[in-house]
């Protein structure tokens, strides 16, 4: 009853690793304490968005070719470029089987519009965020409408429009602002100011109100051929809903990621979890690993919050506990540590060197690059300097990259998670 592979952390890296392991028939479990950061994400997958000078990268894989040569400590240097591509193909296939289509702009990055109306480079997006049609609408400077649900306080179309106007791509584009509302629905229900994106997504999901919503969109969009809404047009059957709305309005519907909870991210999360469970994986939510016992160069067992004196054991372990927010890394007064195993961490000892004095520094903050050190086999090193052979690390618990300044978080999570799974599959075969 011992697991083949036990993954600590159920985020993008952990799920990728879990799906790959489970698809090879390994007895795999993911222990996840609380929901993952996909719930806070744009729902697009970044590979490499900015170079070290903060400039936008056009062709990420071409850029990475030189980057990995210069920066051998970067996780991408360990996964290799074919490794990144392979992992992305794997995960897009799995997502597509669960009804999520992610598409890229061939080898190029594309932009997605943020809540604030800035443009962010990314590599893979859902069809409501990137498609050939989007490129066409932007290039031909067609009139666009930025709409909101009347009273929804997590989004301000005026702000989006004002910032978009500052961008050369939208300088000459005519932008219409407007609201849609459902007075009949609202009268019978609670105060709209209490609604978050998920509540509105559920209104869309009932499909009962779609004809009315379509009418509202037509009315508010002032003849624009493309309409943007905050991303709340449904979670599970959003594809069908979007198609219906497009058919009813005759307009292209674009989605802008909203404040958390992010529906675009939630779709990926649900799809990945479904995929994992269908393959026989055990997703253990709401349990927290509190410590791991290391004997010589092996993890012996894990202790969870509820396991008491019954140790949780596996042949191999994967650490995908994330960065500071999720508790994968922990900051003391002047030291950074990995709390579960006490792994060797790459960081700065002086607190003053952790951060930049400017909050929105182009180079971002150094602490975002801190994390666990691994070797080329993705094994970490214990406090005493021994390589731990049955433990692998992936995702943002790793050091050597800055997900914010590089716009590389999604790509690193997927490719390192995938690589750890490949390592485990290989080791188990050799056994």
């Amino acid at each position: 009853m011992i697991y083949d592979c036990l993954i600590i952390g159920g985020g993008l890296a952990g799920l990728t690793c879990g799906i790959k392991c489970a698809s090879h028939g390994l007895h795999t479990a993911i222990i996840s304490g609380g929901m993952n950061s996909l719930h806070f994400s744009s729902g697009s997958i970044d590979i490499a968005g900015y170079n070290t000078k903060g400039e936008v990268i056009k062709k990420p894989f071409e850029y990475l070719k030189t980057m990995v040569k210069e920066n051998s400590g970067h996780p991408y240097a360990r996964t290799g470029i074919p490794g990144i591509k392979g992992s992305l193909n794997f995960i897009t296939e799995k997502l597509s089987a669960e009804g999520i289509t992610l598409s890229s702009n061939n080898d190029f990055n594309h932009f997605h519009i943020t809540t604030l109306g800035t443009l962010k480079p990314t590599y893979l997006s859902q069809e409501s965020v990137f498609s050939a049609r989007v490129t066409d609408i932007v290039n031909s400077q067609q009139k666009i409408a930025i709409l909101n649900f009347k009273g929804f306080r997590d989004y301000y179309p005026e702000q989006t429009a004002a910032n978009l106007k500052k961008n050369t791509l939208f300088k000459d584009t005519e932008i219409v602002l407007g609201d849609i509302s459902l007075p009949y629905y609202m009268n019978t229900e609670k105060n709209l100011h209490e609604f978050r994106s998920i509540d509105i997504a559920r209104i869309f999901e009932t499909e009962r109100y779609l004809p009315r919503i379509a009418e509202e969109i037509k009315k508010a969009s002032g003849g624009a051929s493309a309409v943007s809404l905050p991303a709340f047009i449904g979670v599970n059957n959003y594809k069908a809903i979007r198609k219906k709305l497009e058919d009813m309005t005759g307009k292209f519907i674009y989605e802008i990621p909203s404040l958390p909870p992010s529906i675009l991210g939630l779709r990926l999360d649900h799809a990945l979890k479904n995929s994992f469970i269908k393959l026989g994986g055990e997703y253990i939510a709401g349990e927290r690993v509190v410590s791991g016992s290391i004997k010589k160069d092996q993890v012996e067992f894990l202790t969870t919050k509820n396991s008491g004196n019954i140790p949780v054991t596996s042949k191999f372990y994967v650490l995908t506990t994330g960065s500071f927010f999720s508790g994968g890394l922990s900051a003391g007064f002047d030291s950074i540590s990995e709390p579960l195993f006490g792994l060797k961490v790459k960081s700065e000892n002086k607190r003053s060197k952790w951060y930049s004095r400017t909050f929105f520094d182009k180079k971002s903050h150094p602490f975002l690059g801190f994390g666990v050190e691994i070797d080329n086999k993705f094994n970490p090193v214990s406090e005493s300097g021994k390589t731990i052979k049955n433990l692998f690390c992936a995702g943002s618990v790793l050091s050597g990259y800055n997900p914010v300044s590089e716009a590389s978080g999604g790509g690193v999570a997927i490719s390192t998670g995938f690589k750890c799974a490949e390592r485990i599959i290989k080791e188990i075969k050799n056994d």
């Binding site: 929901m35 909870p261 949780v312």
Partner: protein, 400 residues
Amino acid sequence: MIKIENISFDHCIKCTICSMYCPVSQATHLFPGPKASGPDAERLRIKNPELVDSSLKFCTNCKRCEIACPSDVKIAEIIQNAKWKYLKIHWLRPRDFFMSRTDLVGGIATLFSRIVNFIIGLTLVRVFMHVFLKIPYRTVFPAYEKTTFRRIYKKELKWSQSGFSKKIIYFHGCFVNYNNNNLGREFVKVMNALGYGVEMKKEKCCGVPLIANGYIEKAKKNAIYNISSLQKGNEESKIVATSSSCAFALKNEYSSFLELDNSGIADRVEFVTKFLYNEFLSGNIPEMKPLGIRAAYHSPCHLERMGGVMYTLGVLKNIPGLELIVLNSECCGIAGTYGFKKENYEISQSVGRNLFNLIDKAVPEFVITDCETCKMQIEMNTKYKVLHPVTVIAMALDIK
């Protein structure tokens, strides 16, 4: 004064993920969701208890918010506390009184089980209950047994238990005692197969239905009784429960919610599948024959919160010939006595619908779940019989 350990609401970063996973706010807009009712409102309530909101009563205490929370905020506990500390109960509640006294009602009902089962099945009685007691007409109450498990144990089982060198103490709970004697017998059979003799101590209802209906003082009395009774003698033996909610109360809620000292029993209390998992892990696996059954497994909310699902799955995967379909985690909607109340009926059904659909889609022969009220809800709303993991093991032991 606020106790320092009760300020977990301060760790809330307002991400609203909990509300996203709240089955009740999915079913109705009358409940503003765990974030608004829990950590948000708690700040106000601390300042002024009058600011309590009556929508708190919609919370089922399924604890899915706590499972979802990335910041480990004890959201359900905050709501549960607020509900009974601040919410003044103005109405007389004979229904809630009887529903929460599972041991009192069960004790009487088993004496006249044939009559009781007959009466509560009558249309006229059900209409009466619907109108006057606010118990929805469509509720099917579990039938009462002719006798209690304790009597069966004394008469038929006790004599043979002294032959085993290893002992465990069985906390059977009300459901086994009054409504499902067989599960108790099966439990004894499985434990004996593992080489354990089963002992029982005096016990009262664990207090879960009392807490859920706001009878906190009575729950405390029961808890104190159970703690002292279970502590007597046999200090080493594990205390094993077949009800996930009983186990959760004995192990966690007695200290975390009722603020009692349960340190003498907390470490010894184990839900049955975790106990079995550990035995299986150390090689103590009884001889089971292939079942040849396809079953769907539903994970109860409270078992998930206890981190217990991995043990149940681990145990079930050891049963030969059991084709297991693990259903996506969904709340069944019954939440103890919640779904048995007329004012909650629609919400309860709406919450459970996702699960019922999943079960129908899986086309199993049986459904397996650890919790007795989940069992009632699934049996009321689908055509499938629901089995406890222990029952499934007992079935595999029985095959000749």
